[in-house]
Amino acid sequence: MTISKEKRNLAIAGGLIGIIAIVLVLLGNPKNMGFCIACFIRDIAGGIKLQTAAPVRYVRPEIIGLVLGSFIISLVTKEFNARGGSSPMLRFCIGVMVMIGCLAFLGCPFRMVLRLSAGDLNALIGMLGFAAGIGCGSFFLAKGFSLGRSHRQAPLEGAAISAVNVILLLLVLVAPALFAFSESGPGSMHAPIIISLCAGLVVGVLAQRTRMCMAGGFRDIYLLKDATLITGFIALFIFALIMNLATGNFKLGFASQPVAHSAHIWNFLGMFVCGLGCTMLGGCPLRQLILAGEGNSDSAITVLGLLTGAAISHNFGLAGGADSVVDGVYKVGGIGTNGKVAVIACIVILLAIACVKSFAKKKED
């Protein structure tokens, strides 16, 4: 059996990203959160005062690095391609809902793999929901779901999100007092800024070159019987697992996992929302950041949707709370009533959009 060049590159990139993620934890990032696109965008929403949850406020340089890494390498390889206009408002709304789903679970698909590699079995429940959501989205794709065609745009439109990230980085460096930073909790835990930024840049380059996507891996297996994209996902898991075993961070079980809850049904449904939404968007939150850096303004709008979704999740009490020990008693976390209503509403709305754009789209095309 021969391994294709694409699979080999994805395996190498996935392995490197897994190692980088664990190193970031060793250097200060929260446990099982070397990289988490949802958590880090949520922290940025707190850092720029869009949400005020005290423990989760920091301008994560990893996110800035991911966008700029993709932007720089796409300029170098002449793949920068300013385009957009494929249902931007719907993409924004789907981005909001994907974030609500991720924060109900407490992590994006990237962190789901990292949590799994550290023995957190709650992430396995999340992965079942993620796979089910992608299966549901794939059904609609097979029925003709489409958010419509994008068109070429002016280079400035495509580069705008990268410019915003450069400005954000400069402001954090020269005027940090403008921003809010957590004094305790996950937001206060971070690797040195230069290392976080470099890690983001490297992962941005690797993800841009290999088209790595956590949602695409499952989707391509369902729709095309093609295991190319999932190779990156598997390599990431294996290398992070080895690193976690080597550094003593592996702990198998459901209880007392770092920044995680064991409310199984909401772990499942949160990631179901994420899987369905990501399939409708054409890629996971990591992929949206990379595409945004490449000049795709639809993905840039989606990233703004993710940012807004993070602010909504925390300002309206939708996000999950981790399991905790209170007075010696283990207390299962999860999401409150607002969060439960929001997750169910997201599923209903996503299904409604999917139905309309699958079955009523022929008139538009």
Binding site: N81, L141, S146, L147, H151, G216, R219, L223, L224
Partner: protein, 67 residues
């Protein structure tokens, strides 16, 4: 047969290609204007035992597949 997948983002070009070759045509041309669909559609057609050649023209590509 020619299939216009310009402006469509992944995975739509591959799904439309899959649908278009359901009747096993001897040849098909697929137009794309982004790198990811170029790679994905080419990979899919090769997996479906087509010979694949690519023509580039002004930031767009024509994937020419023949049995």
């Amino acid at each position: 047969m020619e299939l216009d997948c310009r402006g469509l983002s992944c995975p739509e070009p591959v799904i439309r290609t899959k649908r278009a070759i359901a009747d096993k045509p001897e040849s098909i041309d697929v137009l794309v204007d982004q790198r990811a669909p170029l790679e994905n559609v080419s990979r899919f057609l090769k997996a479906m035992k087509y010979n694949v050649a690519v023509e580039e023209l002004d930031g767009e590509w024509k994937i020419k597949a023949t049995k």
